[in-house]
């Protein structure tokens, strides 16, 4: 395996601020969209669940504080 062509060398290419070089085609649909988790069809659902779990933990810790203080 040799070095990747888009990583080194090359002539400086004029570009506008914010434009990225070496960007490839986006990830495939199967790589990006499918979570592979039962009950979670989208990543948004996974993120909401993680956020919910975080809120649950903070709530439980607040309850623990209230009960034993």
């Amino acid at each position: 395996m040799t070095t990747r062509p888009d990583d080194v060398g090359g002539v400086p290419t004029p570009r506008k601020a914010g434009e990225m070089v070496g960007e490839r085609a986006g990830p495939t649909a199967t790589d990006d969209a499918a979570t592979g988790l039962p009950g979670f069809r989208t990543w948004r659902a996974v993120y909401v669940a993680v956020l919910g779990f975080f809120a649950l933990w903070v709530g439980l810790l607040a309850l623990l504080t209230e009960k034993f203080s």
């Binding site: 499918a34 993680v50 975080f54 933990w57 623990l64």
Partner: protein
Amino acid sequence: MNTLDYVVLVGTLLGIAAYGMWRTRGRRDLHTYLKGAGDTRWLAIGLSVMATQASAITFLSTPGQGFESGLGFVQNYFGAPLALLVIAGVFLPIYRRLDVYTAYEFLGRRFDQKTRLLGAALFLVQRGLGAGITIYAPAIVLSTVFGWPLNATIVCSGLLVVIYTVAGGSEAVTLTQKYQIAVIFAGMLAAFGVLLAKLPPGLGFGGALTLAGGFHKLEAVDFSFNPDRRYTIWSGVCGGMFLALSYFGTDQSQVQRYLSGASLRESRLGLMFNAVCKIPMQFFILLLGVLVFVFYQFERPPVYFNESAWRSAAAGGAGETLRAVEADFTAAHAVERQQLLAWIEARRAGDTAAVEQARAAAVAARGKVDAVRAAAKQLLAKEPGARANDADYVFITFILHYLPHGLIGLLVTVFFAAALSSKAGELSALGSTTTVDFYRYVIRREATDAHYVAASRWFTAFWGLFAIAVALLANLAENLIQASNILGSLFYGVPLGIFLVAFFLKKIGGTAVFWAALASLVLVWGLYAALNISYLWYNVIGCGACVILAAALQLALGGRSGESSRP
């Protein structure tokens, strides 16, 4: 420690290291050496991210923190899940789409060469020093407790991790971290079980929580806006998110871990695993410390947990004073114990008035115990052997005095496994960044993969030896750990500012952000020289200044700043 403990310690550490080297033998292509074979599943990534972050001090000191201050420290981690969600949703897809080896390579693609090199240089300086502290901090505690020579402890543990990290690269790091974290979990769960079994009869887990609550050890969440309070939910969510975003999102030692995933899905799930597990894990470790506190209400603890420093001071001129302090401590602790036993008895009998009376008496007695300990700490403050915080010695003292042989070896293995796993992640990242962002990008652009793998091995070895040297020098400078933390904070905010501009402010180009970053570094260093504020604030100042100055400079430069940039 007896022979069985040493067999467990040496056998486990060498076994895991040897397995990692054997499984990754003969790796010759750069992609596999720096990113792994590309088949790493989410659980291995999640454990690897966790192992890199959790160093030996996490498992040595955090129970001590729980012992001293209770559960409040858990709030420091409240920002981590939120930061990990942002990284999984925004940072990670871009890193993977660009197929970068390092986070700074992304800066090169998004901005230009000079910004990439600046980001990489800031990482190397900060993490290079940090890797030394990763070895030094547990070595000073363990060598003091066991009477091992400090320098030999530093060199042996340092060289072991250098050997397998150099030999196997990132894949070996991920592989060994999986087993090291399994040993860590097993050891901590075993300690928890033993601790519960050793609580006084009739107390139970619920009673232990009630007792700890009576001493304000279970105040996990503080909603107050009082700036004098060290840990509140607000500082935890805001400051914690800021720090976690910087650490997990822009520090190559973490970025390299989750870029090794087989797919975007595996990397994301690895991060989500940490978002879910981080708070419960820290809570569990702090709770362990709280239970050690409860345990020591019924068993007389040492006045000063760093017993080696205590013995050394007692043998010197302060011997008479320390013996008097010890006698006061024994008397105060006996009174407290008696009141607590009365409290348990009153609870069993259901006598509410007696419960309250005994609890109040125990709290008063506790005040006396704390006062004696505070006086002892003051006396020991100037003792050369008492360099580390005494709370760092609480958990290891409990382990050595109350755990059976074999389990002692397992718990000491936990501390070393944590030190090795976090240092391996750091060294691998330092080697990768030096190879990809400097050597291959600036010095030698055209070479074979075998050449770059060899270079990466040399750079990893160099950083390993550099870290060992920093750890050895730390022995000469008592406040080097704090100095290193300050240095880290003075460097950490600006790189986050660069990355936030890269991800969220698309109209700002390389020239603007580069000069803004340099100006922000100067500003942070100037403020540090002029002001006397907590060094943690410099993370916020550095990041904020970089973003604002970059936006202002871009406005002044118009559309020109990115036009001359170079991939």
